[in-house]
């Protein structure tokens, strides 16, 4: 990581990895990941077309989270939820993604170097088949697939 570019790579049969550097100490980046009022500002950028309806996060080992999103074309909100398996202050967050079957376990690690933070996100699926299936579905986060269907539906209704 020589600059602030985001990289992504399939590093094994079951694991996707993303890296990014931030111009701030780890405690600041960690705070942005663990404070609901801050999380809602960045987790769903405008280009996603979805917005937070609610954001509940009990960020400690064994705590739960629940994100509820809305989409202009959706009657029903969608929930994404899971549990924090491990939380290490300013260094690491590990959580499950339980809204879908065969969901991944995600680990975010925050490593501070010279006042900057190197973030590594590792998404580990329960099997090669589960990651292959995620790739085959074309969906990168679960939202787009479901909401694209709604977009298509909305487009067909207004056509």
């Amino acid at each position: 990581m020589t600059d602030n570019q985001t990289t992504s790579e399939r590093v094994s049969d079951t694991e996707m990895r993303v890296t990014r550097r931030f111009d701030a100490p780890a405690r600041i980046v960690f705070r942005a990941w663990t404070t609901p009022d801050l999380m809602v500002k960045w987790w769903t950028p405008k280009s996603f077309g979805i917005t937070f309806i609610s954001c509940e996060m009990d960020v400690r080992t064994g705590g739960n989270y629940r994100f509820v999103f809305g989409h202009p074309a959706a009657d029903q909100p969608m929930a994404f939820f899971g549990r924090y398996i491990e939380v290490v202050e300013n260094a690491k967050i590990v959580w499950t993604n339980e809204e879908a079957e065969n969901g991944s376990v995600t680990t975010a690690t925050f490593t501070e170097r010279a006042g900057k933070t190197e973030l590594v996100i590792s998404d580990v699926y329960p099997s090669k088949a589960a990651l292959d299936e995620a790739i085959a579905s074309g969906s990168v986060a679960g939202y787009d697939e479901q909401f694209v269907q709604l977009d298509d539906l909305a487009a067909s209704l207004t056509a």
Binding site: I28, W42, P45, F48, K128
Partner: protein
């Protein structure tokens, strides 16, 4: 940092490790061909060519279609390409989040400085 070779790409690399199979791919760039045409072109038995086509098909590099008694080969949509596209979209999703996260982080930094 350890660099792993993506095992999903193994099939594609293995398929392309053979000179005949590379020749077949190159040939198919100029147009579709039947297995018997390819066997003639590469001076092979029909059975031998079928095996090569099978390997290329497994890797998603070639697609075949049987019309009547003739099996026609054409360039396939590679799973490798699909996977690369997905990985790029996955990267873009995180990159979009991180651009917003940069702003949140900058605000927090500014506030922290202000509190000093």
């Amino acid at each position: 940092m350890v660099h792993y070779v993506n095992p999903g790409h193994d099939a594609s690399f293995a398929a392309l490790s053979d000179a005949t199979r590379r020749g077949v791919i190159e040939h198919l760039f100029s147009g579709d061909a039947s297995i018997s045409e390819l066997a003639d072109r590469f001076h092979m038995t029909l059975t031998g060519m079928k095996k090569h086509i099978g390997v290329l098909e497994q890797a998603g590099l070639v697609a075949t279609e049987k019309i009547g008694r003739v099996r026609t080969c054409k360039l396939g949509v590679s799973r490798l390409e699909d996977e690369m596209q997905w990985i790029e979209r996955y990267r873009q999703m995180w990159a979009a989040r991180f651009e917003e996260l940069d702003k949140v982080v900058a605000d927090l930094k500014a506030k922290e400085r202000g509190d000093d």
